[in-house]
Point group: C2
Chain length 445, copies 2
């Protein structure tokens, strides 16, 4: 069955994912060889410190600190170090030595992707990165290959497990953000410094990768509009639940026509948003991830699974390794990265979406009509309005005026129109405060 | 950008999927060409009757009844006629003329797959079939490529939209099977003769395809254990709901060790089953499909979308076409079908699963203990037992003895042990009747 020489595999990095890749390669080597039609030989693992403690025992003779020499000897290089440098120079060295590369490095792809893809294309090498977005979830191949004959309209993903764990706990247990974060940290879902997760940096990197792929257009991470979820309150989550919504941190990539200029382009954005509890993404609990894709012909698709975890992500890396190895055995160039559409990338200002506004107002006759008037003056159409009875102010001292809470859901509006509306509403005499403004995403099934 | 000659595409069949493929190819040809790096020219559409009425207007000069001549001139042949013959001879003719083939023909693949894959491998041609299981849902590529480095343990799918529509309606509206089927027929979800759907033949074909791919083992449709869902009653669905379950028609493919022999093998089966309402598959409503995959490293994954529909399925066909065309441009052989594992295929007797039994018993002291004793005598362990109060018999004439309903959920047991238990229970004096026996599948999250 095996008619091809052994393929030489170099692994860069032996952290939580890298060490599992090494383990699975060593344990399941025969099975993988049968699938490839050639043996897969792990020839070395480049690490910073050969004596460091690891999750998995890697044979000492495989460990090396000399990554560049290791790379020169390999047919396929698996980069799982993370970070920009030296990962970037190592990947370029691998490409230029004729190796194919498998990487899970989302930070690098989101910032220097086009340069790496161009370098690979020039020498006919391949760059595989299924593990860079969605962890174990197969999303890169479906977008690149399965939907290659379709036109993607929107990608809407829960692509960060830490924040989904926190928001799910706030939803299910009624926890505050701080308490839920503490639990996530205790359980190992959140890092000591959770900034990359809770401020949406991690999700923004994945959004850049998914948008580039979905729209055949290079979308750098700097072009991704990013808002974190640290400002989401327990009260907002509870109010959302009552209104039939759940708060999720979403990465949204969409193809749209700019409402001002009429030009077609792409927008990528990460922010907390309300989605209907009947939407498939609402059923994504704990630290799970899911990517919801809307395509012109295929309709609605969803891909669900573990978005992180050493063993889980190693599955995606090994799938890429088998693809790379099969290509070595079969010969011929593989599939290049496609940016033929090259659409302009717009900012958040081009987006039209629905909004939920929560206002505290003094409970006087006519206030509701005046507020509704402000919306229509600014061209924002109200889809639903709910006024909570003034008893919400119960417990206050008798001197204060009674207040009511208005929850308003708008039809689709631009950011600019919404911002102008919020400014006008805030300035209105009867408005005590604007309690929250949240985007509402997804069709309500 | 285009540096390659136009690729010649032949389409066989212009039914609901075929006509949409023709439309999308003609409308989006330039976009597909940019993704492939070569033009895609639809050179002909073979049909039985060029004058037949179709969903989409196909230029008259493209239509032909001479499929074999058309095939000879093509680089890629898309077969969407369905059925065994003449589809099979056309596909073999295409392979032998050096063309790659894209097909959505599940009946053909489930019965003659190995013969077709062998013919393709012999000449280095490729056979793509993303549309044959799961309609628009990308499931073939993820199983074949993304999970190629992992070991799949179980595939559990809702792969028939008609029966999911019916069962969802029975669940949500409380409809009887007959009423729900009537609605499905009226809305076009069920065909005039619904046998292929409701008796599980369609799902069994997809199970054979998914099992073959997931376990690198040829699994013919004849080896798939099949039970339809026409026997599911409104009462069963209602009782399931009360117990926190939902009834779904599942296609289950699993790798297991035969409990008798200790031999590892594969089982594929289609039957109605209870799953927990918290399981991701429980949220698959209407005519949607979803495939839940459990892999050793990746953990739980789910792929969700439209399992049928002309335009939706055309998306999968065009994705395959782009893959085939890219391979023509890039040169070199593609990925062969992998059956290296070649595991034995077992029958339903090797399966251990959980069961829910509903028994009507006479309400006398000691009956519950006697019934429980029968389970333990046959080696079937009871996980949960619920006795409905005797008032269930209210309304009967006063002469009849009071009855109670026992709902028993077992731990995992073999088919044989369960059958022996049911026989013993049925023969017990106090048992009025065995109301229903249903398998319980999936972990309860």
């Amino acid at each position: 069955m095996i008619e091809y020489r052994n393929l030489r595999i170099a692994l860069l990095g032996a952290g939580s994912v890298g060490s599992q890749v090494a383990r699975l390669l060593l344990e399941h080597g025969d099975e993988l060889a049968a699938r490839v039609g050639a043996g897969l030989e792990l020839v070395g693992v480049a690490v910073r410190d050969v004596d460091a403690k690891r999750d998995v025992d890697i044979p000492r003779e495989l460990l090396t600190t000399d990554a560049l020499t290791l790379i020169q000897s390999a047919d396929v290089v698996i980069e799982l170090m993370g970070g920009i440098e030296p990962a970037k120079q190592y990947i370029l060295a691998a490409i230029n030595s004729g190796a194919d590369v498998v990487t899970g490095n989302k930070a690098l792809l989101a910032t220097h992707g086009p340069e790496l893809f161009a370098a690979a294309e020039q020498v006919g090498a391949q760059l595989y990165y299924e593990a860079a977005a969605g962890g174990a979830i197969p999303i890169i191949r479906p977008l690149r290959d399965s939907l290659a004959g379709d036109r993607v309209k929107r990608v809407m993903g829960i692509v960060n497990g830490t924040t989904n764990f926190i928001l799910d706990r706030m939803d299910v247990q009624g926890d505050s953000f701080e308490n839920a974060l503490a639990v996530a940290t205790e359980l190992g879902y959140a890092e000591a410094d959770p900034t990359a997760d809770v401020e949406g940096y991690d999700a923004a990197q994945k959004a850049a990768i998914l948008a580039s792929l979905a729209f055949h257009t290079a979308v750098p991470v700097e072009a991704v509009h990013r808002e974190g979820m640290t400002t989401v309150t327990a009260a907002q989550v509870e109010a959302a639940e009552k209104a039939g919504f759940v708060v999720k941190l979403l990465a949204i990539c969409e193809r749209l026509t700019d409402p001002e200029t009429g030009v077609e382009g792409v927008v990528a954005r990460v922010h907390p948003a309300l989605i209907s509890r009947r939407h498939p993404l609402a059923a994504v609990h704990d630290a799970k991830n899911a990517v919801f894709v809307q395509a012109e012909a295929a309709g609605d698709l969803m891909f669900y699974g573990a978005g992180a975890g050493g063993t889980e992500t190693a599955s995606a890396v090994l799938g890429d390794l088998v693809s790379a190895a099969r290509r070595h055995v079969a010969g011929g160039p593989g599939v290049g990265e496609s940016v033929h559409a090259n659409l302009p990338v717009f900012g958040i200002g081009s987006v039209t979406t629905r909004y939920q506004l929560t206002l505290v107002v003094t409970d006087k006759p006519g206030v509701l009509a005046q507020i509704a008037g402000l919306f229509s003056e600014h061209g924002v159409s109200v889809e639903a309005l709910q006024q909570t009875v003034a008893s919400a102010a119960a417990g206050r001292s008798g001197d204060q005026p009674l207040t009511a809470t208005l929850v308003i859901i708008t039809h689709e509006a631009t950011e600019a129109a919404l911002a102008a509306t919020v400014a006008a509403v805030s300035a209105h005499d009867a408005v005590v405060r604007v309690e929250s403004v949240l985007r509402v995403e997804g069709d309500t099934p």
